[in-house]
């Protein structure tokens, strides 16, 4: 992993020691000593790296180093407001890192630096905050990215829901990679890296009170490693997108629309866990629209599809990867169809609003 310059003054301020109170109060956002304690103890303690430790108002990144890695800068930002903040398979902190890393990686970028801004509701137990921040630090470290600047705000009770996190990411795109939804061509294959809908089902399950026999875990994961494997195996890859909110169905519709092609997927080839299928049956939801946090949809030229698939399957995050369909030569432009397991054919449209459980 790239290290940051040491030209910057090593101005690590004297630590003020541990946060002693059990809960976050408005004082921790007030700019005074309490806030310093919070930042030093919780954030610097977990994220610490030479750039962040200087506590300057901005992070400074040497351009030469970026230029060495590629020819374009990629930048993305996302805010995370998930409820509940801890769920099977992850938490809001892990999500905030993985989500932004993935948003960079799907564009073909190597993720390098993140910023982290948190809005905390007063009254949050310090221990809870610590758990979230530690999870962020661990995920960032595993993903090989540094958190180099940030911001902390505390708002009154009821003004936000426990904690909101924004992460902005910067990465660099290596020369030669050109990805775009409009680049899909008839004959291209549609690949996914595994079971769809796990995250959405896990969150709904954790939120509701469905008491499932086998709990569903979120698939929350950083995909940059998998994506570089994919791009190495299939350099002609046209487009990659992580299928987050709106699920796979929304990504496919975007591709169909941007490329003015039809798309057909095969239900029988589409990997969805039994538990998720069952969960959706009960609630009347469609797993194709459920959110994912560790799943991507890739459009790969037919000639490279087989190599791409085996490369994906060789990676721990792609073991259940599947070729689920194709871009059609004769399909209706902008339309996504599905061959149902039952032998029928139906349209898979954009989702309207939020998926709401049916009444019966």
């Amino acid at each position: 992993m790239t290290t940051l310059t040491d030209e910057l003054p090593e101005k690590i301020r004297k630590r003020s020691g541990k946060l002693l109170v059990p809960h976050i109060t408005l004082a921790h956002g007030g700019g005074g000593k309490a806030m310093r304690d919070l930042i030093d103890d919780v954030f610097i303690g977990a994220f610490g790296n030479p750039t962040l430790n200087t506590l300057e108002d901005q992070a400074r990144v040497p351009l030469a180093e970026l230029a060495r890695l590629g020819d374009r800068l990629a930048m993305t930002t996302d805010s995370y407001v998930v409820d509940p903040i801890f769920f099977p398979g992850g938490d809001i902190g892990k999500l905030a890192i993985c989500g932004t890393v993935n948003d960079l990686a799907v564009g073909g970028a190597t993720p390098l630096y993140l910023t982290c801004a948190v809005i905390i509701e007063e009254g949050m137990p310090v221990e809870t905050l610590r758990r979230i921040v530690d999870s962020m630090a661990e995920t960032a470290q595993a993903a090989g990215v540094n958190i180099i600047t940030g911001d902390t705000k505390v708002v009154g009770h009821g003004c936000c829901d426990k904690i909101f996190i924004n992460t902005t990411g910067i990465g660099v795109i290596r020369q030669g990679h050109q990805l775009g939804a409009n680049r899909a061509r008839p004959g291209d294959r549609i690949l996914v890296n595994g079971y769809l809908g796990d995250h959405g089902a896990a969150i709904l399950n954790a939120r509701g009170d469905m008491h499932l026999v086998s709990p569903i875990e979120s698939d929350c994961a950083a995909l940059h490693g998998l994506i570089s494997v994919l791009l190495a195996a299939a350099p002609g890859t046209r487009f990659i997108r992580d299928a987050t909110r709106g699920g796979m169905a929304s990504v496919l519709n975007e591709i169909a629309e941007a490329s003015a092609c039809g798309i057909e997927i095969i239900e029988a080839a589409t990997p969805i866990r039994r538990e998720v299928k069952g969960f959706c049956e009960i609630l009347g939801l469609d797993p194709l629209y459920l959110a994912n946090e560790g799943k991507l949809v890739a459009v790969v030229p037919e000639a490279e599809a087989a190599t791409a698939l085996s490369a994906l399957r060789a990676h721990p995050l792609g073991q259940e990867a599947a070729d689920i369909g194709a871009v059609l030569a004769n399909g209706r432009a902008g339309r996504v169809h599905m061959q149902t397991v039952f032998g029928g054919r139906r349209i898979v449209d954009m989702l309207v609003g939020e998926q709401l459980p049916r009444i019966c």
């Binding site: 009347g284 149902t340 309207v352 049916r358 009444i359």
Partner: protein
Amino acid sequence: MKYVDEYRDPAKADTLIKEITRLANPLCAQRGRPVYVMEVCGGHTHSIFRYGIENMLPPSVELIHGPGCPVCVLPIGRVDDCVAIAEHENAIMTTFGDAMRVPGSKCSLLQAKSLGADVRMVYSPLDALKIARSNPDKEVVFFGLGFETTMPSTALTILKAEAEGIDNFSLFCNHITIIPTIKAVLDSEDFQVDGFLGPGHVSMVIGTRPYDFIADHYRRPVVISGFEPLDILQSLWMVLKQLDSGNPCIENQYSRVVPEDGNRAALQAINRVFELRPFFEWRGLGSIDHSGVQLNARYAAYDAEKKFALPSIAIADPKSCQCGEVLKGVIKPWQCKVYGKACTPQTPMGALMVSSEGACAAYYQYGIGPRTVVDSQPVGEHAL
């Protein structure tokens, strides 16, 4: 899921389709139009679209999507009443997910929520009771709707509230019953339906006997059907066999779940707390006698309509709205003047565009326009 996969076998489907075609073709030739089979229940409509069943059928048989989605048939005035309760400072309104999006004359519950009303989605009325227990200073109202399928759980919740002495809980009751509805469709002047796929979940509660009059009096076949795609095809085949033999009766394809006599405990709970309303307004169908229920005098303390002052204004559907004709199978969704133009799932004018079980939303989501094979054959004489 092994259990479920059994009902999704494409090879079996193929055999059934061939049988359906063999039976339907001569019946269609006799009538000079396709055989019209109505699935009364929204759950069936959903499965039909989800598995692409409509497109697998021969042009000689056509499915009509009936009034079986309780969300779709809720009149605007009732939604307005519900919003009025939700806007009450001291109230927490609770209901099922898809009920939150039905448009009232001003707004839906979802919109009211965004404007500050305390509206919460629950998976069961018991969750609503739980909310009441933990918010003793609030009045928690459950917006109950649905046919006999959801009625028992509402009834049991009321009984539980009584047993536990929870008095900050009430029901805004919009439960409806299926039989008068089918009767209304049968009595409709535009009526042309040849047979019915009977609702599986409702029948689990009421059994099969209440449908007898349909075969006896109206001479139409009814097959109570499950919700898996093979269930639906098999039921359709059974309806056609009956039509072919000219001997209509009530058959139970879903016998693995539906007992002939229904569920006694569920019926008891329903009978204990509910009584029939003299009449109840349906969206698109007008008022149908004895088609809705309300809490009886003994449980009046749990009746939100008595606890809150409600506007209770009957509001007509927009003029251009043809939900009623679609519900009765007189026209197909795409034949409605505003379908896909003024009325889309983002901007539903009629309730059929709201729930995923509504025929219009299903048509819109799963494929706009007529089946090519029946392009020139509108369903009813009153079609556009």
